[in-house]
Symmetry: C2
Subunit: 443 residues, 2 copies
Amino acid sequence: MSTADLGLPVEVPSTALFTDQYEFTMLQAALKAGTADRRSVFELFTRRLPEGRRYGVVAGIGRVLDAVENFRFDDGVLRFLRDRRIVDEPTLRWLSDYRFSGDIWGYPEGEVYFPGSPVLRVEGSFAECVLLETVVLSILNHDSAIAAAASRMSSAAGGRRLIEMGARRTHELAAVASARAAYVGGFDSTSVLAAGFRYGIPTVGTSAHAFTLLHDTERDAFRAQVDSLGRGTTLLVDTYDVAEAVRTAVEVAGPELGAVRIDSGDLLLVAHRVRQQLDELGAHDTKIVVTSDLDEYAIASLAAAPVDAYGVGTQLVTGSGQPTCSMVYKLVARAGSADPGAPLTAVAKKSSGGKLSVGGRKWAARRLDGQGVAEAEVLGTGPVPDALADRQLLVELVKGGEVVAREPLDAARDRHIAARSGLPMSATQLSRGEPVIPTEYRM
Amino acid sequence: MSTADLGLPVEVPSTALFTDQYEFTMLQAALKAGTADRRSVFELFTRRLPEGRRYGVVAGIGRVLDAVENFRFDDGVLRFLRDRRIVDEPTLRWLSDYRFSGDIWGYPEGEVYFPGSPVLRVEGSFAECVLLETVVLSILNHDSAIAAAASRMSSAAGGRRLIEMGARRTHELAAVASARAAYVGGFDSTSVLAAGFRYGIPTVGTSAHAFTLLHDTERDAFRAQVDSLGRGTTLLVDTYDVAEAVRTAVEVAGPELGAVRIDSGDLLLVAHRVRQQLDELGAHDTKIVVTSDLDEYAIASLAAAPVDAYGVGTQLVTGSGQPTCSMVYKLVARAGSADPGAPLTAVAKKSSGGKLSVGGRKWAARRLDGQGVAEAEVLGTGPVPDALADRQLLVELVKGGEVVAREPLDAARDRHIAARSGLPMSATQLSRGEPVIPTEYRM
């Protein structure tokens, strides 16, 4: 089976090839050396948050579960690996019935994270775990970057509605994942239909400047739109003159007009003028939607403007200056032999050039102060202290190869709002700062 | 058919849903108003290059052709649009046998572009053209951003080999497109196997720190790797102590060792030391590969270091600070009726907030000076001046709905090198600057 049958603009047969070649060559060498079956623990974490960010947002866990389930080798993939001589015949045989059979624990989707947080912990044989590195990092690095930007924007927007509309400014499938991550981070809807189709996210959209330009007059365009989409539609009022367009819009749709959209100009000024004009025309319930290169700072600057909803594109899908996270996937412990009972030894690359790794299989907990506000991210390798036992962050996601933690996307969205509100108040300051709580190690 | 059958971590049935909802609502309203069949011309262009960039690189044209061919509505998609009440029944009937039947002209892949360059010109009925907006922008905005970064890096690298290895830092399918765009921009190979599978790009990779940590000693790890992958392999030498690792590497593999990889530390200093050590050990032909948060500036700074190849990850797949382009898709001309012979009228949104659009169906040509070096990007709506007739940039990509311009990826890569070398020499300066040639309008 190939994606050619689907009409996708990509053609890849499973998630197994969203993988760096070296995962496969390491597998081959370990199989030959007899070390491939050593029990291993990999952790996915970040050494630092993006510069100036106060917290991270875990997003993409649901997509990771999909990717792990679908990491399979069909004939087409095996033939490719053979024809290109990526790996040898014993390795191909091993891959042909690959199925991840280990355990995965992780931070649940929507949770916040900090430097060192073991966002994902993957355990099994070296062979089965190492192969997952690339695709798992791709998903979490991308989705968490978008969700972090979304979270800042949703803080800045207060209770006002946020529409994700950045599909045109990112890869067409990254766009679908971005809409999903934005929803986790607090957005309300998206423009991109594939995200509605795949994830059930509410979709919105009415018209662009092209629709006005297609018609002989702006009035013709508005009438055509209202005739077809109803008076509750959103009319775009900045193709020519905004004041004239607003007047025409209310004449055509009446005061029941759903909303007007402003996509250019000094939004603060224009929103005030348009609100006043709408009110004078009796269109008190007509909403104002603004869209035009918004980011969290622009949203915050419009807090005092009569704006009902923000549409955010470029800055959302590019992570508002931080388009990726720096999550890594590191071997932190492994057995000294393939014996299933062999004890685990902590391992870590020697620190050099600031690339700190802390060996050992870790637990994670968030310690609260007397008011119930988070005060530290505590990571350790020994027994969990009693005081932190019920504040642990890792949940079981995959058990013996079976996914055990599916949940609706709304659960992740709700979790994010709860997790963010459990942080010190300075977490939602937009200005640059340090992580809002420190990471402590108990080794 | 659904991507669920493929094990992809996304489930979308065709490119038709990589589309903003408003394209469909505009279609519905135009169908009802009788304006949907007006002959229309859309142009895709950018008002400005990313800040400080001197030229843009067109990438993704091949993927656009795939997306247009596969923009179809099967039962699953139509059911979604009906169930979610995105559009009405007449529109669903119209969509059910949608197939783009118009013409597309564009800059060929690998060509350079400047502000205003009509990178793509899409002609047909308003209805059939407007639907393509989102997916076409997604592809070209993403792929061109990556190719632009790749082009700067390939200039900086001189003739040294460049390996794309950023899959883990971007969406898993954006990674495949990034590898493709990087190849167009001058990279030699990629780490991500799906890009080899789908596009035939050479793939490379041998081992990570995890492989060394899996084994009881570094010597065990190197021996396992050489035993399996041969003496020509690349050994990673910075897990513990670099000098000791290099000594062990040559002891294990002999002077036939293919390469060593350095992934941390002061690369300039370390590369010199490692080269000297390798030479002292008689491993004169052993190459040095460096990888560690490289960008075009870091690559340039290593010009005097004994480095044979650069592996670039994060900064490549995030466009080296410019993860997207600001390309837009605008209606520039349309007929006043559905009559096939009706003349086209130029249209444009009123300039406001800097959002300049220039109406009219345009040609584009690159004027050369007496030495054959580009001196201006000339755009016009009237007849093409004789002096520019053979310097026109737009080529026919789709004719009457049929793709007519497939080409191997190497053709785009070669074209890029030729186009870049036809620019004034200051084009490849890494410092920030203005577009290296001006855009002139002949209207």
